[in-house]
Every structure is written in C-alpha cells, then in structure tokens.
C-alpha cells in the first residue's frame, strides 16, 4: 500500500510517504513558517524521492486537528482535494491521538496537548491497551489548571507530550508533582510516518463530509450563541 500522510495542524509540519507499506520518507520541521507555502513543495519532493506518482497512491492520511484553525484547513484542504480527485480513500486522525503515539510504548497514561492561549489547551488522555491507543478521557479545549485537577484523580503516572511543554511545565509540576512524567527526549513532535502507518488499517471516511476537529467554536459564533441565551 502507498500512503501520503499530512499534518499541518500545529506549528510542526509533517509529511510522510509510505511505499509498499514501508515508511520510505518522512519530513518533520518545527519552525514557525507558513504551511501554505511549504506543504506542497515538501509533498512534491518526498513523492519524487520515493519514486511515486500521485496516481500510484492508494490512500491519503491527514491529522485533522485540533490546533491552529488555519493550519488544520491547509492540511485538510490539501488532503481532501488529493483524495477526492485521485478517487482514493482518506483517513483522518485526531492531531492529539497522533502525538499520543509518541508515548505508545509507555505503561503510563498519555496526555498530549497543544497550547490554546490564555492558559487554555487542547488535550485528551490516552492509554495503550492491547497494542492499540484507547481514548481514556475525551478531547477538550479547557483551562490547563482545570484539566490537571481532573487528572489528579487518576492514581497513575501520566506522560505529557507537547511541543508547548515548556509553557505549561510549571503548572503541571505544581499540580501533579511526581505523578507527571515530562520526557526530556525529542518525543514532542508528531510523526507523519506514524500517521501513514496507522492509516493503513484505520477505517476511511467520506471525503466530502470530512471536517476539521476544531474543538472550539469560531469566536463570533460563541458570542452569538451566548447572546441568544441571554435574551
């Protein structure tokens, strides 16, 4: 199976090409740059180095958020258009789940998160169960302090994975102390190769109805709903 995997949902840019079911090329970059400018040149380069024509792809995989609204849309638009126009299946994975795979071989609970400004995060809780990642606590957009209080109830170690770890390190340590595992190794960037590999067996979705996993309403919409409730 040949798979192209795309993740532009947060600052890191990730693209991977799976050829004959093997990851033959994987690209990860965590530099604040414009995904719209960079994505297609990277896809083009990896595909040509892998010696694959777009028509030889069997599947497209995409991380569909949460994260930067604009970033999610760049990856998702590209992935959806490729899958639709090549008439091949598309597989979507939560960007948090993808990051959680970096803690796959740990026995602890895994908490991937992305900073969502003003003390908030996009996060969820995962656990490896019989060689599959299981969602232990639903993905949310929440104040980190509030989330950590809920995590304290678990009487188990929790591994935190995030390229925004430093911004929240103090809060995590203050609330969870020894319960928190904060890896020092570079395991905080999602791997597009993992996305491609997992996508081989994951159920494809309908390309037209695939939408971003924003976890948050547009500000104007949230305000509008609030106004309706007040009146």
């Amino acid at each position: 199976m040949n798979v192209l995997a795309i993740d532009t949902s947060n600052q890191p840019l990730g693209v991977a090409v799976l050829k004959n079911s093997q990851v033959v090329a994987e690209y990860t970059k965590n530099i604040k740059k414009n995904h719209s400018v960079q994505l297609m040149p990277v896809i083009n380069q990896l595909m040509s180095e892998a010696g694959l024509q777009p028509s030889e792809l069997d599947r497209i995989a995409v991380a569909n958020g949460p994260g930067s609204f604009t970033g999610i849309r760049i990856g998702l638009t590209t992935a959806k258009t490729l899958a639709w126009s090549l008439n091949i299946p598309i597989v979507a994975m939560s960007s948090l789940e993808l990051l959680a795979y970096n803690g796959f071989y740990s026995n602890s609970l895994i908490c991937p998160f992305f900073d969502a400004r003003r003390g908030q995060v996009y996060t969820g809780l995962y656990q490896n169960e019989q060689s599959e990642l299981r969602l232990e606590k639903e993905e949310v957009n929440i104040l980190m302090e509030e989330w950590l209080k809920a995590l304290k109830e678990y009487d188990q170690p929790i591994m935190f994975l995030s390229h925004d770890l430093d911004a929240h390190r103090e809060t995590i340590v203050n609330t969870l102390g020894e319960q928190a595992i904060l890896p020092d190794l570079p395991v905080h960037l999602p791997q597009a190769g993992v996305l491609a590999k997992v996508a081989m067996t994951k159920e494809p979705v309908d390309v037209h109805s695939l939408t971003p996993n924003y976890l948050r309403l547009a500000e104007a919409e949230a305000k509008w709903i609030q106004k309706q409730q007040e009146s």
Partner: protein, 342 residues
C-alpha cells in the same frame, strides 16, 4: 501535424474562487464560453452576524470545496483529464478564505500534473464580461464592490492600469454602512437600491469630486453626512423617510461614479466601458450608466448579468485563460496574498 492541430485545439480552464463568502468552481472554454459554473453561497450563514465573519467563511470553504469541485466537473460532464490548467484567486480577499482555494488548486494541479495560475480577483471581475463579448481596446473598467472602487484602463489583454481608486471607503462599503444605520438587513446594498426606487431625492448629499482631473474616489464624507443627517433629525424629532434617504444617498454615489467614468472614457478614447464587481448589480447604477453612455458614438457599455457580477469562478477561469496563455505559472509554493496588487 500534431503541432498544427494543437493551435486549433479547444482550451478548458478550471477556475476556483474562495476569496470571500462564496465557494465557487467553474470551467471555461477558450476563455469565453461557460461550460460549468457552480457557486455555493454562504450568505445565509453570515446574515445573523450582520456581515461576513472571516473564520466562519473559511470553515465553510473547507467543508464545501470538494463538493463544489465535483459538481462543476459533473455539470461539464468532464474529468480532470479534459482540463488544461487550473486558475485560482490568489488575492486580494480574506486570507483564511483564500487559503482554502489556493491549497485546493495546488492539490488538484499536483494530483493531475496540470499547470497552475494565480489570478487577481479584480482581473476576474473584469473578465466576467468576456464571457459575453470580446474585448476591444483601449477599454475602461469601473470596478465597484464591497472592497473596491477603481477605474482601470486596459490597452491589451492582461494589462491593467489603475487610473483611479478610492482613497477611503469602497462604494459597497459605504452602502453597507448606510444600510446598517437605516437598520436594513445584511447585505445592505440591494436593500438600499430597492428603497431608492421607492423614494425620491430630497436631500442634496455631498459629492467628493476631489481635485481637478483626478479619477480617484472618496465616499467616507458622504457616509458621515448621511449618518449625521439621520442623527440630527432624530434629535429634533423630525421624521425622515428611509426611502428618501436611500434615494438621495444612491444619487450621490451614482453621480460621482458615472461622471468620472464618463470623463475617463472620453479622455482615453476607449472603445468599451465595462462595469464589474458586486455593485454592478445595482439597478440605479446600471440605469444611470446606460443613460450616460447612450448615444456615444463608437463606445460600447458592457454590464454583466447579475450572476456574473457577484463573486464566481467563471470570471477567474476567464482571466486565468489570459494569464495562462501569456505563460504565467504559479509554483508549489504559491500562497494566498490578501493584499495582491493588480
């Protein structure tokens, strides 16, 4: 033989437009013939906010884009193999909205190994007219929309010389603001146009002619004058009929637009005057321009039908055809450019 044949081969360009609140895809043959034209409008969704919310617009675009692409190809009874190149609005517009179209276009071009051309949104509005009539140069185009009020001189295909532009508000913007003050629903332009026809010109609102010989526009003074008039009347408990306000306001806008367009047309000795952009749908403006240019020897006025005035992708495919045949190409690193110059 093959080379000779290719000269006469029909050319099909697929256009994509997502610069504001319409997700649109079209296919145009030889730059002039509409084969498919699909527009998914979001107006209903933005109405409750009283204007286009950029984030909401972007969300709709990503939800709609593959469906609209499919519909256009189905309507044309074509596949991507039949398409010669992909044209997409590169700017100006809302950046998040533009990004969806640009990335869809790149993916489409990559998947099928097709050339890609970025198009200026205003060039598109002008070229909507070429779907009706072949251009004759020199040509003057009055572009009026929510974001633009410009006079553009063209001496040949794909060459745009901006001889006048607004120094503050665009005409469409002034319409929307006045409409809001009159508490008319969004989008306000058509409501003012409708009201204006029911009322009469009772107030002599100012016209900004600016300095002698200038083809620039200014509508912020007029807008303030309308708002002040309404405010003062309210304080003095004088009742003003909204239809008369609308008629007086519209008269002032249309007077300046048509007078300057007429002057420029004469100075540059143009053969055609083209009206483009959303405000070209305004009945008052259409009537006044038809009046102004009636009886002008050797000068033709072109105003597109309503569905080609508002944002669509046929105009992008039409303008893209010209750019494509001039050899313009965009790379895989093409980006949305909200401030793209013409």
């Amino acid at each position: 033989m093959g080379e000779i044949m290719s000269e006469y081969q029909d050319q099909y360009i697929l256009g994509i437009e997502t610069s504001c609140d319409e997700t649109a895809v079209a296919i145009v043959k030889n730059g002039r013939e509409l084969i498919a034209n699909v527009v998914a409008s979001q107006i209903e969704s933005h109405k409750r906010f009283g204007g286009v919310v950029p984030e909401i617009a972007s969300r709709h675009h990503v939800e709609q884009v593959t469906m609209v692409l499919e519909e256009a190809l189905n309507e044309a009874e074509m596949t991507m193999d039949d398409i010669d190149a992909i044209a997409v609005t590169e700017g100006p517009g809302l950046v998040g909205a533009l990004l969806v179209g640009v990335n869809a276009a790149k993916a489409l071009a990559f998947a099928h190994n097709k050339p890609l051309v970025g198009v200026h949104h205003i060039a598109g509005h002008i070229y909507a007219n070429r779907l009706l009539k072949e251009f004759e140069f020199p040509l003057l185009s009055l572009v009026v929309s929510g974001g633009h009020t410009e006079l553009i001189l063209m001496n040949e295909h794909g060459s745009y010389d901006v001889i006048g532009e607004t120094r503050d508000d665009a005409a469409g913007e002034a319409y929307d603001k006045v409409a809001r003050t009159l508490q008319l629903p969004y989008p306000g332009g058509p409501h003012i146009d409708r009201l204006a026809h029911e009322g009469e010109v009772t107030i002599d609102f100012p016209r900004a002619w600016l300095e002698e010989g200038s083809y620039d526009f200014s509508f912020s003074g007029l807008k303030s004058s309308v708002i002040n008039t309404l405010h003062n009347a309210k304080q003095k408990n004088i009742e003003l009929l909204p239809e008369n306000i609308a008629a007086s306001f519209q008269e002032s806008v249309i007077d300046v637009l048509s007078t300057k367009t007429h002057k420029a047309a004469q100075e540059y000795g143009v053969k055609q005057v083209i009206v483009a952009g959303g405000v070209a749908a305004n009945k008052g403006l259409r009537a006044k321009l038809e009046d102004t240019f009636a009886g002008e020897e050797g000068l033709e006025l072109l105003i597109p039908p309503l569905h080609l005035c508002t944002d669509n992708a046929a105009m992008i495919a039409a303008a893209g055809t010209i750019a494509f045949n001039k050899g313009e190409r965009s790379g895989w690193d093409m980006n949305a450019n909200p401030g793209l110059p013409l």
